[in-house]
């Protein structure tokens, strides 16, 4: 650029101050529910109903956490959520990267037709698939098992589509050259295409993991015993049992939210990127 760098005049700075004021108010609004949750989770029952409400509890009732955690097996819920989300993520990334490789880098009969069917399936809203999938789960005798929680959600046309779009951006010469050297398709997939797509794979993985972790409707429908519940479903049943004991409910909500928020605090760039990239269909 030939133009001299534009230095903002003084009123411009004032605008930045105003901007910060606005952004901080916005931040407070976004954070308010978290503060309110934390504050309530540490209150004695008597302090819940004081007016005006206090933000800092008089004495911290850590016992709420004990009570909440002993009322239901949250450790088991956590294990279930973690196990289910990780399994769905691994199966889905594995199968859809293989399929995406076939769609993007191999030429076979019926490729575009099959791909169009995948694309068309993207439009089907999940509620349409809910009831038949429930019936399939019942018929396979998978009701209230990890199979039901993991296998049906592990197949989505979306990640195949996303990875295919990404694989298409890599130069075809790579494959040609590798084939000249006698590499098989499997080798090309694993040693060339996958390593070159680390960012896309990471984005898709985070997206799948978080979606499965936070999913509510499907695990609600296919589980009925306490030991098969994931965190959201467990929390939901906890709410059903303790429905006016707000300090315990908020302690449970903190327990359900905190680990994810802590991971988020350390890996926020990856979270935001993963969700944004996947949310935008890989662009």
């Amino acid at each position: 650029m030939t133009l001299e760098r534009h230095t903002p005049p003084r009123p411009f700075r004032w605008r930045h101050v105003l901007l910060h004021v606005g952004l901080i108010i916005g931040s407070l609004i976004m954070l308010l529910p978290f503060f309110w949750m934390l504050s309530t989770s540490l209150k004695q029952p008597s302090e819940l109903f004081t007016y005006p409400p206090t933000w800092i509890p008089e004495n911290f009732a850590w016992k709420n956490y004990e009570d909440a955690l002993s009322a239901m097996p949250f450790d088991r819920f956590y294990f279930n959520s973690l196990f289910v989300a990780a399994s769905v993520m691994i199966i889905q990334v594995f199968t859809s990267s293989l399929a995406a490789f076939a769609f993007a880098r191999l030429r076979f009969k019926g490729r575009d037709t099959i791909f169009m069917i995948y694309l068309a399936a993207l439009m089907i809203p999940f509620p349409v698939l809910l009831i038949p999938n429930f019936i399939i789960v019942i018929n396979l005798d998978w009701y209230n098992t990890y199979w039901a929680l993991i296998v049906p959600p592990a197949f989505s046309a979306f990640s195949t589509f996303l990875l295919r779009q990404h694989f298409l951006t890599l130069p075809m010469d790579l494959d040609e050259a590798a084939r000249m050297d006698g590499a098989s398709s499997l080798r090309i997939w694993w040693n060339i295409i996958m390593p070159m797509s680390k960012t896309a794979i990471a984005a898709v993985s985070i997206f799948i993991f978080l979606n499965t972790w936070n999913d509510f409707l499907w695990p609600l429908v296919v589980t009925n015993s306490e030991e098969m519940r994931t965190v959201p479903v467990g929390l939901n049943s906890f709410q059903g049992q303790y429905n006016v004991r707000w300090n315990l409910l908020m302690a449970a909500a903190v327990v359900a939210m905190m680990p994810v928020l802590i991971v988020y605090a350390f890996a926020q760039k990856w979270f935001i990127r993963g969700i944004a990239i996947s949310g935008m269909g890989g662009r």
């Binding site: 931040s27 529910p33 069917i117 399936a121 009831i131 038949p132 399939i136 449970a252």
Partner: protein
Amino acid sequence: MSTQTQHQTNTARQSSIKRWLGLGTWNPQQQSVAYLFLLPSLLGFLVFVILPAVGSLALSFFEWKLTNTPSFVGLENYVELLTNDAIFPIVLGNTVFYVFAIVPLQLIIGLVMAVALNTGVRGLGIYRVIYFMPVVTNVVAAAMVFQWLFNQDFGLISSWIWQLADATGWNIQPPNWLADPFWSKPTVAVLTIWKNVGFTMVIYLAGLQGIPEELYEAARVDGANAWNRFRSITVPLVSPTTFFLLIIQMIGAFQLFAEPFVMTRVGGGEPLQATLSIVYYIYQNAFNYQKMGSAAAISWVLFGIIFVITVFQLRMQRRWVHYEVDES
């Protein structure tokens, strides 16, 4: 059109039909290996996506309570739903309310946040982390927190209203937010907007970064003020992003379930079906009343609505979405 170009378009069409059928473009050596690559995904896709899609359409023509043998009823489920079901119109109205309350506000607030963060203001990273935080939180936990925030007697929001009433002497009192037929829907919408607006903002930020800075410089030289720059540069140039967000958020808002389910099922209950969404109603039909056929029919009506609206938006996009490439 000259014969030559006509011939060219014909060959192009033929080759695209050929491609569509997968003829001529395939490599015989890669045939079997390709199907092996595709197999795991395709198998799962057929069993858990295609079969259920076909199955739910078929199911919507049957009456089935899970325990009896299904009996074919033709279009009865649909006819019943559209002409005789007293609750379905309410549910439809609620869902339309959610869509119209949530989507525009989410787009406007998300764009304003993104524009504010795109000014080169310091601390962009921190603000972005905070605004995006609700997106990664669990919807059930978030719904519980909002249920407590909007508790009629002791919730924070209600206490603010009491305090305002005390301070000003006005005769106002908080409604019973989640049990009130009028206020319950907006309360559910507030949770949803809070939860999702960070996503909108992040996508908008990506869109804004594609607008060349020179355009703003030029407008500044011409004396355009901030509002005019926003209106005549930012809004039109970010319209592809707006369009994309509009489509996916409408599809999402039509499928709202966890938010009204968690917020209004326990304590207060559903105030006269005022918060019931379409998906919530599908859930009730299938899992509370065991009316599998009707539930499937409702899901196809939902699909139909989403489909028509999406197609409508795709057609309307020419009127307001500016793609730079198209304009030149």
